[in-house]
Amino acid sequence: MRIKTLVLVMLSAVMVFSSAFLIAAEPMTQTQVDAIIKNLDSKTHFDGDYKAVALTHTINREKGETVQKIAIYRRDADDRLMLLFLQPKSDAGKGYLMIDKNFFSYEPSTGSWTRVSDERVGGSALNRSNFNGFEFTNRFDGKFVAYEKLGKFEVAHLTLTAKEGVDTDEAKVELWLETKDFNVLKQQDYALSGRLLRTTYRLNYQRLSDASGKEQLIPMKSIVKDEVEIGNETTMVLEQIDTQPLAENIFTKAWLESKSR
């Protein structure tokens, strides 16, 4: 299975890199677009486990500024995600756990678990996708728009439209990818009504190797601007990234509950 994945990734990478030489002259073909999207999913998903600490700074127009420190635990093979709030003291012990596509929030003061939406993790502008890898291939159809300039970067602009019958919060996603490694620099999510929901900037990509030796690219800094509640914004910086195997019991409710006892 791993060899198959590796071959697929390598093939996608070859297609992506070969396409890079053509971009200056011609628009992308649909095959190239599909390959880029597939590669985006692949290179942001780890074959093994992943652990990191996120420092977030949120500006909320109603609640003011907050800084949070969150431990992130991921096991992409099983679609598992655990977020444990470490700081500030008032949030310490709170957390989120994803089990079978359901996202649960834990409140240690009451010991209660609540099923929540993917949005506004810990009251920030971040949603679950900011902690996970991309999941575009099965949910969206991509289309090339144009080569554009994003600040000093040459970027390829793609539009992803939700596939028929797929349940997703975003009906449309616009991506701006730098043309060397095709990393997403800017992302805009649109609601079903066509309204712009949020803009995300992903910066400072860093290469990592996961447990299988597969090379990953992780944005060390993300800036998420809420485009509905204008003024709400969160900046997230990742540190202490570790791809060593995690303990089996981490992705359980009991583990999170034990952290606040």
């Binding site: 109603e62 359901n102 099923r115 949005e119 349940d167 997703t168 919060d169 009504s193 309204r195 509640e229």
Partner: protein, 446 residues
């Protein structure tokens, strides 16, 4: 009859004493009736608010679970259910309305708030049309004009929303502005731009949580298919038959193969977590009456009742002591008179009756006057439509205008209670008076 004449003349003879005691009795009765009318007015506002805005007299809510632990307020085949409900008690049901909706977030330029959106068919819902009144701009905009703007009926137009005054104030919007509506639906979240077509006066605390759009707008915002709705509001000819009609509705739905949640006599808001955790999947229906929905708020009425009980008990004791004292003095002063009437043949029982009658007449007369005065005040206040300027108070009282409500039963019971208290208070001095021997009374007078 002679006893009535004697008792009445005795009251007239001691004018000052009668007037002072009577005023005290009248004022206590007045207070009791007025407090009762405050409680009644509150319950009236609450009932009108909840029944017209959210629940009807009987509410049938659709609950749908796609997976364990995730319940949504959706109902399939709403039109079919509506017809079944109509047929369940046609002689008792006046109107039935289908609504859709669910929780969402209203987002203004500076603030946001969570609200339960109700998708309505405006032309159908006559009761709601009567309840919603356009609010003056000054009530929700700092320095706004003293005129009401907007058109509630425009809620029928696509992407239109009607806000309550307190919501508009929090969001910082006025008629004609736009807000974002973040709808939480079964398939995720959708954000739609809404036009504020009207801002209406608050109808108590409930106004903070509810808002209105057309059913079509809600369906589009929540990405619901045409056959999906939320709840059915049943209005009855006699709202006090809600339990009976609800039982019939439950029987009809069960007979037609629909599953229902267990009836617990509590609003679904209080039971949501418990029902969500129950191990069933698919569609179920939940039924509640308007009484179930206002149960929590009855605490406020009970508090008013408890306060008035304590207050009136203290006042009744004071009045009772006053009456005992006055009657005692009266017995002392009139011992000569008592001796004479006993000497010419009046029995001790008749003397007891005379004193008791005197006291009862005093009680009935002045408590009636007190109750009538309270009634006049209630009428005047209701007619004057006195506005409540405090937002907190208006939210608690479920109205923007002071509303007092009085039933004749309240007046009669107050009169009976205070007349009885007066009578009981006079019993001891009257007994003493009846036991005086004629010779003893005449000697004591000399």
């Amino acid at each position: 009859m002679i006893y009535f004449t004697i008792a009445f003349r005795n009251l007239l003879q001691a004018k000052r004493r009668t007037l002072l005691l009577g005023t005290a009795i009248g004022m206590v009765t007045f207070l009791q009736v007025l407090l009762q009318s405050v409680g009644n007015g509150y319950m009236e506002n609450l009932e009108e608010g909840t029944t017209a805005l959210t629940s009807g007299h009987v509410n049938v809510l659709g609950l749908y679970k796609m997976s364990h632990g995730k319940m949504t307020p959706f109902m399939r085949d709403g039109d079919k259910i509506l017809e079944l409900i109509k047929q369940s008690a046609p002689e008792k049901i006046e109107k039935v309305y289908l609504r859709n909706g669910g929780p969402g977030r209203l987002i203004g330029d500076f603030n946001s708030r969570v609200a339960l959106v109700q998708g309505i068919d405006y032309d159908e819902e006559v009761g709601l049309q009567q309840t919603l009144v356009l609010a003056k701009e000054s009530s929700y905009v700092e320095g706004g004009r003293d005129e009401a703007f907007g058109d509630i009926s425009k809620v029928k137009e696509p992407n239109s929303i009607v806000l309550f005054s307190s919501q508009a104030k929090t969001l910082g919007v006025k008629v004609g502005d736009e807000i974002a509506y973040r709808a939480f639906s079964m398939v995720g979240i959708n954000v739609t731009t809404m036009h504020v077509v009207a801002v209406v006066e608050d109808v108590g605390a409930i106004s903070s949580f509810f808002t209105f759009m057309s059913r079509t707008t809600v369906a589009e915002a929540m990405n619901l298919s045409e056959d999906v709705s939320g709840n059915i509001l049943v209005y009855l000819k006699d709202k006090y038959q809600s339990q009976e009609v609800m039982s019939k509705i439950r029987d009809t739905l069960t007979e037609n193969g629909y599953s229902l949640t267990e009836y617990e006599g509590l609003s679904i808001v209080k039971r949501w977590g418990t029902v969500e955790r129950q191990p069933w999947l698919g569609q179920k229906f939940d039924t509640v009456t308007w009484q179930d929905n206002v149960k929590d708020a009855e605490v406020i009425v009970k508090s008013i009742d408890a306060l008035s009980f304590v207050l009136l008990t203290i006042l009744s004791v004071i009045i009772g002591i006053g009456i005992i004292n006055t009657c005692w003095i009266s017995v002392q002063e009139r011992s000569n008179e008592i001796g004479c009437i006993r000497a010419i043949g009046m029995s001790s029982r008749a003397v007891l009756g005379l004193f008791m009658l005197e006291s009862l007449m005093l009680g009935v007369l002045f408590s009636t006057l007190g109750a009538l005065l309270a009634w006049a005040v209630v009428l005047a206040v209701s007619h004057a439509e006195i506005p409540i300027h405090s937002q907190a108070l208006s939210l608690v009282l479920f109205t923007n205008k002071l509303n007092l409500s009085l039933f004749w039963q309240d007046m009669v019971s107050a009169i009976v209670i205070f007349s009885t208290i007066t009578g009981i208070a006079a019993l001891f001095p009257a007994l003493r008076a009846s036991r005086i021997e004629p010779i003893q009374a005449i000697n004591a007078a000399h």
